[in-house]
């Protein structure tokens, strides 16, 4: 793998161009000049130019992930903005939003500025999400206005759900002033209790404390009611259960400002996978039943779920290689995202490549208000070149993150990223082919 500066004139040749915005698919070339889209279609070149053969590959928008944890500042041993950038590029992502549960948390304009400045020269666009409450303490709202000025694109106390309903009401009401979404990690702490995995058949047999799906759905229900009442923008992260989907589906009929995401791991795994106490599958909210998984897929298809977000959550080996109760919650997910979702959604559930790409490009960009027309002449280049049918076994070598807490290691994947082009840089997958 390598990240290089893009030559001043580059042509991506003979690829299949997939435009998730217009829905069109056509074969042709893309000419990139000085990091911008210069021409699209059949191109006749002259002069000095770098040619990249894309035959048999699909050229589409760079992916956008609105939910990652890059751990900077504070836990640079798990991930940094720089190593997170590599993980993103390896997954075809050109734009990510980082969650504020760092140390210290991103709860001030200064902290937001730190991320904005520090990521300026990195090869993907990194947008900070600000905390909803100061120190993520759940008591006082942050300076959302000043934080927006410094680059905050949304607000969330991710990892620490806003428990107090009146606090959530205030946050939603205030967010109308800055016109940015509120993202609340929905888990009722009292109901969740000491839950370590989904409360159900498997937890009863393993003797592990269960976390009820109701712990999620009751809070999502509350948040939906509050969002409609305040007319604010609510985005629901990592939906994991059928019960939550029922609430979202119902409210979406009348409230068109509500959006929701699902992670690849909630689409890929079910609770049976935890039978051997694999701590890499200990996530919040937990991996649930097969029926929940199938309903999440259905919700992706019918639009109840708007987009896919990885919740990329790096942890050190020490934080994961311990007993189940002490292991940290979360898994990394950027590198494995496309291979996992295309396997589940395209191969197993008959979705089209176009629809899956939309879940990773125009849909998240629409939620966050980012530019969606990436094939426009003059647009700053943000492209992914993918081989959607390539089958391989996901290995440790495919991980570019500083952490390796992935339950996908050893899993068969379908669909691979060959090139990611972003911010005038190109990432080339030159790593091992694990056929």
């Amino acid at each position: 793998m390598s990240v290089q500066k893009l030559n001043s004139r580059v042509v991506l040749q003979n690829g299949t161009l997939l435009d998730p915005l217009s829905g069109e698919t056509f074969s042709g070339d893309i000419l990139i000049e000085n990091g911008k889209i210069a021409q699209i279609g059949k191109i006749l070149f002259d002069g000095e130019i770098e040619k990249i053969d894309c035959s048999g590959k699909v050229i589409t928008h760079g992916f956008c992930d609105l939910h990652v944890h890059f751990r900077e500042p504070g836990r640079e041993d798990k991930e940094t903005l720089e190593t997170g950038t590599l993980a993103a590029l390896a997954g075809g992502f050109t734009r990510v939003c980082v969650m504020p549960n760092t140390n210290p948390p991103l709860d001030s304009p200064e902290a937001i500025n730190f991320i904005t400045k520090k990521s300026e020269n990195l090869a993907v666009y990194i947008h900070p999400i600000g905390a909803i409450t100061k120190n993520q303490g759940g008591d006082d709202i942050t300076e959302m206005g000043l934080m927006k000025k410094e680059g905050a694109v949304a607000f969330s106390d991710d990892g620490l759900p806003v428990q107090d309903g009146s606090m959530m009401r205030i946050a939603l009401e205030y967010s109308n002033l800055v016109e940015l979404p509120i993202i609340n990690h929905a888990e009722d702490e009292c109901l969740r209790s000491n839950g370590l995995m989904n409360d159900g058949v498997v937890s009863s047999q393993l003797g592990l404390d269960g976390n009820l799906d109701l712990a999620e759905s009751v809070m999502i229900h509350r948040d939906l009611e509050l969002a409609s009442y305040t007319n604010a923008r609510l985005h629901i992260p990592h939906v994991s259960s059928s019960k939550s989907l029922d609430h979202i589906r119902k409210v979406k009929l009348v409230n068109h400002k509500v959006t929701a995401e699902v992670t690849p791991h909630h689409l890929y795994f079910n609770e049976e996978a935890l039978r051997d106490f694999n701590t890499n599958l200990k996530v919040a909210p937990p991996i649930r039943t097969e029926s929940d998984r199938l309903n999440l897929i259905k919700a992706v298809k019918d639009g109840t779920i708007d987009c896919i977000a990885t919740d990329h959550a790096p942890h050190t080996i020490e934080d994961k290689e311990t007993t189940f109760d002490l292991a940290s919650f979360g898994m990394i997910g950027l590198e494995s995202c496309f291979g996992a979702v295309s396997k589940v959604l395209i191969r197993d559930n008959g979705m089209s490549l176009l629809d899956v790409v939309r879940l990773l490009t125009v849909r998240p960009r629409a939620i966050m208000g980012f530019e969606k027309d990436l094939f426009k002449i003059g647009a700053e280049v943000e492209l992914a070149v993918i081989d959607p049918n390539f089958e391989y076994v996901f290995k440790k070598e495919n991980i570019k993150s500083r952490s390796v807490n992935s339950p996908y290691i050893g899993e068969k994947m379908i669909g691979k990223i060959n090139y990611t082009i972003s911010k005038n840089k190109i990432y080339k997958e030159v790593g091992v082919i694990n056929k």
């Binding site: 159900g200 058949v201 937890s203 009863s204 047999q205 393993l206 003797g207 592990l208 051997d276 106490f277 020490e318 290689e321 311990t322 007993t323 189940f324 109760d325 002490l326």
Partner: protein, 320 residues
């Protein structure tokens, strides 16, 4: 004990982590072998050289006087070398990780680890780091396979069979590793199991394991051939899941009065330690129907059997 040597390598699994999906054939082998070892315990010299040269570490991250003594005795009767390691004396308190502790101990050249740990899955987890044989002596609310095996041996001794036997397990099923292991073991051996206790202490999903559930003690006693009475572990209950001792005793305590309502003579078991006057009355525990002390002795015999079948044969001629 010459004939025992034939039984080496007869168990399918290297470790004993739990009884879920544990082969019936192997459970039978363990119980049969335990009967042989029980005869050793009746001799004037209660020691055999079966595990001479084998080093076993008893790794106890949680207090458990009786399980520990039972294992230690079993090891001594088999002439194994043993080392005890308990959390209170360990470096764990100094922040050393579980993995480092395990690997440190193993690098001192040991053959087997008997572990008690408060976390479900801890024994499974241990097998990721070490090559030695791992025997689960209780992992949180997950499993306690050796307890279930000694319970099954005691039932087998009493009834001459396990198949078709009706066993009621009474008490706090939710927080019990004994219950889970007994459910797995007994159903594998063809016995029927009924769970009885307060409705909030019986996980609804356990029905999927093919067990009956009743919230009425009389129903359970009416049905059962044997009743396994669990200790009400107050220390496990952060939220006072049982309102009071007297209410529990009234509803689920095994008293001679409750037993007398049923014609059939029910066998009474308890894994200990008992709260007399709470889940079981003193006169019942000391009475003819109870086989509680047989369980204790069978505990040593069955642990000898397990240790022998998993660790034996190493010293003699390198067969294993």
């Amino acid at each position: 004990m010459r004939n025992l040597n034939k039984k080496l390598n007869m168990l399918k699994n290297k470790h004993l982590l739990g009884l879920k999906e544990y082969p019936a054939k192997d459970l039978k082998t363990i119980i049969d072998t335990a009967y042989n070892f029980k005869t050793v315990l009746d001799r004037p010299i209660k020691k055999v050289p079966s595990l001479q040269g084998v080093t076993i570490v008893n790794l106890f991250f949680e207090n458990s006087t009786r399980t520990k003594i039972s294992f230690e005795l079993a090891q001594k009767r088999l002439s194994a070398d043993t080392v005890n390691f308990s959390a209170s004396s360990s470096s764990l308190k100094k922040g050393e990780s579980f993995k480092d502790t395990a690997q440190n101990i193993e690098s001192m050249k040991i053959d087997a680890v008997v572990m008690r740990h408060p976390t479900p899955g801890a024994a499974n987890h241990l097998t990721n780091f070490i090559d030695s044989v791992v025997i689960n002596a209780g992992d949180g609310t997950h499993e306690h396979p050796t307890q279930a095996i000694l319970d099954m041996m005691s039932l087998h001794e009493k009834f001459g069979k396990l198949k078709g036997l009706k066993v009621a397990i009474v008490g706090d099923i939710l927080h019990s590793r004994v219950a889970l292991s007994n459910i797995y073991g007994l159903t594998t051996m063809g016995a029927e199991v009924m769970l009885c206790g307060p409705s909030n202490l019986i996980p609804v999903h356990l029905k999927e394991l093919g067990v009956k559930v009743s919230y009425k003690i009389n129903e359970a006693l009416d049905w059962a051939d044997a009743v396994n009475v669990l200790r009400i572990q107050r220390e496990r209950m952060g939220k006072s899941l049982v309102p009071s001792i007297r209410e529990y005793r009234e509803m689920f305590g095994i008293t001679s009065k409750k037993l007398s309502l049923h014609k059939k003579e029910i066998v009474v078991m308890h894994p200990g330690p008992m709260n007399r006057g709470v889940e079981i009355d003193g006169d019942v525990a000391d009475g003819d129907q109870a086989i509680i002390l047989d369980q204790v002795l069978n505990g040593v015999a069955s642990r000898m059997s397990i240790l022998f079948l998993l660790c034996g044969g190493k010293n003699s001629d390198g067969e294993r």
